[in-house]
């Protein structure tokens, strides 16, 4: 989309990235309270963004509108496999988010596509990601881009509700 190019993130983008991350988690929590944050989450995420931008195994890209406002981001990483199952190297999309007022314009597709391109250039042949079970929009989006279900991640609270 004209006026909203995708580029690699820079250190100066961290405050904007944190705002988007805040908004993303707020949406997750509204869908599912199990995504409640740790009291130090924001501080931790700021440190992680700074570390990611220094880590050659990490990819962070942003969508910037009119040269001044970050309206979306996506992040990925290359990792070794689990050592038992193929593939030996796995890419992962760890985050992808577009501010609500800028959705349905193809920005998420372009952000994800850039991360996939960079992972492919780095020799990765398989990529994985996790999507919240109640996030039907995200699941529909990823499946429309050719992603298929591999595993279901289950959780059990401690203690169980009937043990309280």
């Amino acid at each position: 989309m004209e006026g909203i190019p995708i580029r690699n993130a820079r250190r100066g983008d961290i405050p904007s990235l944190l705002l988007l991350w805040d908004a993303m988690l707020a949406e997750f929590i509204a869908m599912d309270p199990r995504f409640a944050l740790h009291p130090k989450a924001r501080e931790q995420m700021a440190a992680e963004f700074a570390a990611w931008l220094q880590d050659p195994a990490r990819i962070v890209v942003v969508a910037e509108e009119a040269g001044r406002m970050i309206v979306g981001f996506a992040a990925g990483v290359r990792r070794p496999g689990n050592g038992w199952q193929v593939p030996e190297r796995v890419g992962r999309i760890t985050d992808a988010y577009v501010a609500a007022p800028r959705r349905r314009k193809g920005i998420a597709r372009r952000l994800a596509g850039r991360v996939l391109d960079l992972l492919y250039e780095d020799g990765v042949g398989t990529v994985r990601l996790a999507a919240a079970i109640h996030n039907e929009g995200a699941l529909a989006f990823w499946r429309s881009m050719g992603w298929s279900d591999l595993e279901v991640v289950l959780e059990r609270p401690v203690p169980l509700a009937d043990e309280v």
Binding site: H38, K40, W84, Q85, V86, W142, V152, V153, L154, R156
Partner: protein
């Protein structure tokens, strides 16, 4: 290895690496010495205490992003085919979960291939519910 073999049989994307067995043989003694890892076996005393089922879990410390920083992971639960249907898997899950909570787990998680609904059903009986889906995509452009 049978556990991973069954997972691979039901899901080609999770097939084993050629040296998986050798890697397991080297890893097992290390795992047995790790305080944050729980390895349980069920043995058939009638067959000379041969293990017929096992379960393995791990207490993982994660960065302070979500509320829980001590996550108990149910990694593997396997019952030999000849001994299924006797509640061994359910019993192992129960003991494993208690052990992980005893080590400080604030939440319990498990990942199950979508091709193994029986495994998910076993964990659902133990109080697990769906949190996320793990999706995969190939980037092969051949």
């Amino acid at each position: 290895m049978h556990f991973l073999g069954e997972a691979a049989h039901g899901e080609a994307r999770m097939r084993l690496m050629p040296d998986a067995r050798e890697r397991s043989e080297h890893a097992l003694p290390v795992w047995m010495g790790q305080d944050d890892r729980v390895l349980l076996v069920a043995a058939d005393e009638g067959e000379g205490a041969v293990p017929v089922a096992y379960a393995m879990g791990l207490l993982r410390k994660v960065p302070p992003l979500l509320a829980a920083t001590q996550v108990g992971e149910v990694l593997e639960v396997f019952v030999d085919e000849a001994h299924r249907g006797q509640g061994l898997g359910d019993a192992l899950v129960a003991v494993l979960c208690d052990a992980l909570v005893g080590r400080g787990a604030q939440v319990l998680r498990a990942a199950v291939p979508v091709s193994q609904p029986a495994a998910e059903a076993r964990l659902a009986r133990a109080g697990f519910g769906r949190l996320q889906l793990e999706l995969e995509r190939s980037l092969d452009r051949g």
